[in-house]
Symmetry: C2
Subunit: 274 residues, 2 copies
């Protein structure tokens, strides 16, 4: 580790050898990025649910709840960022086909939590629309899997820019998400966000925000949105578990102020303890 | 290694720790699967060219020719299968963005060459058309990168089937490739193969076959092909460096005999020493 962190593999400090791990060979696995506070992993139930669903879809045998319990124990209850990588495990035979007798592996990494989180309510958040697009695959959409070259290429496109985030369209031209966040728009009091059934990740904060909005009586719609929707939107914000609700203050061709619905959801989410 | 093989990492036997390698975290890297014989790596120049191009596109600093020279030296000149994994290296900072100061890593794995290769000219080769599709992304298409979950899901769909290979369409409905091979059709003496500019891998054997066909005066076309083209085709074959030219003998709804053009290219490729 060269990032002031600690790491565990299957519950023991540092790694065994990964040379035949399907995570490395194929990106055959999933990950969760989590915030830990004194009360433990924030939004733990949502992380467990997403990890469990991803494992089910990929056919990886894992007790997601037990995995997150152990991660929480290992990391301790001090403020930090946790990354849990679950791979299908070491290859049983050569080739893409899963043998279904693999033993899933868990790699847990702990990082210091960057300081920029605290200032999310006051900071400038400039966002680009990238040329890079996301391929569409219903079999993989929504999962936080280890195939992330599209995001790497998208961030590479942002090189030299001071923008905070870049937005991506899918190959069929609809808005998908940011490179590391989900996208929300507000139009005439309705909360809109792209579907995640052809590409994109079903973010934990995305699901929390949708739930909190419904609780507050706000109409929510998951639907196809063209890039032009960014021009019409009354409010635009980004979400992930690290950022919470992050108001976008600048888009190509326009600047925005954090709107009332964004502020409301931001506060509502900040108050949540679990 | 649990597959009777040997492994090297950056030129030294077995692995250091991979816990913060971008290959594992994002599939941020490439691989080459190569045949070694007494004369060394077969089609070495083509492997070098593809690896170099992939590194260029991903922005990974690597001398591909030197990497393959070293791989060849390490593996020795005895019959076998080599897999070289090149990752961007250990993460310099958290997040998707490449820092461009990473040091690329090379992991070399050597396997025994399966015996089924020798019988490729006589064996039954049954091929399915899969429901799984491939997402389209011009930024990644053609590269043999480490994001291979689509292939894992495709092979999982073949579970329980005795078919040798499964064919995939792209998300826009055109034929793309097999899970581990490129696809060729012959129609009225013309050699047709799907383009690899939106999805699929630019296979080394694919490029060798296209070159050999042109040398022999056969017209070749890289183009969009609908699945219906499988019904009309006079001949169908698959390629990869391990299989060479592999005649398809059974497709959904029809059986085929290896045709004259397939036989000709099969022999032409088999005779090549480099």
């Amino acid at each position: 580790m060269n990032q002031q962190g600690s790491a565990w593999l299957d519950g023991s400090p540092v790694a065994a050898d990964w040379i035949d791990d399907r995570g490395l060979h194929y990106g055959d696995g999933l990950f969760e990025t989590m915030i830990v506070r004194s009360a433990g992993v924030r939004f733990k139930a949502q992380h467990v649910a997403r990890l469990a669903q991803g494992c089910h879809r990929l056919g990886i045998a894992l007790d997601a709840a037990a995995a997150l319990d152990r991660a929480e124990q290992l990391a301790g209850h001090t403020r930090g960022l946790l990354k849990l990588i679950v791979t299908r495990g070491r290859a049983v035979a050569r080739g893409y086909a899963p043998a279904r007798t693999e033993t899933a592996r868990q790699l847990l990494l702990r990082y210091a939590l960057p300081d920029d989180d605290a200032i999310a309510t006051t900071t400038e958040t400039r966002v680009l629309l990238l040329k890079a697009t996301l391929g569409e695959n219903p079999l993989l959409a929504g999962m936080k899997h280890l195939n992330r070259l599209e995001q790497v290429m998208a961030r590479a496109e942002m090189r030299g820019s001071t923008a905070f985030e870049g937005l991506l369209c899918s190959s069929s031209g609809v808005l998908a998400c940011g490179t590391m966040s989900n996208l929300f728009l507000v139009r005439s009091g309705v909360l809109l966000t792209p579907r995640v059934d052809r590409c994109g990740i079903a973010g934990v904060m995305r699901s929390v925000v949708l739930r909190e909005a419904r609780k507050a009586g706000i109409e929510t719609l998951e639907r196809d949105l063209l890039p032009e929707a960014l021009t019409d939107a009354d409010e635009v914000f980004l979400t992930n578990v690290r950022l919470g609700v992050r108001p976008v203050t600048s888009l190509p061709g326009r600047s925005l102020s954090p709107g009332p619905l964004t502020r409301q959801l931001q506060q509502q989410v900040a108050r949540l303890e679990a």
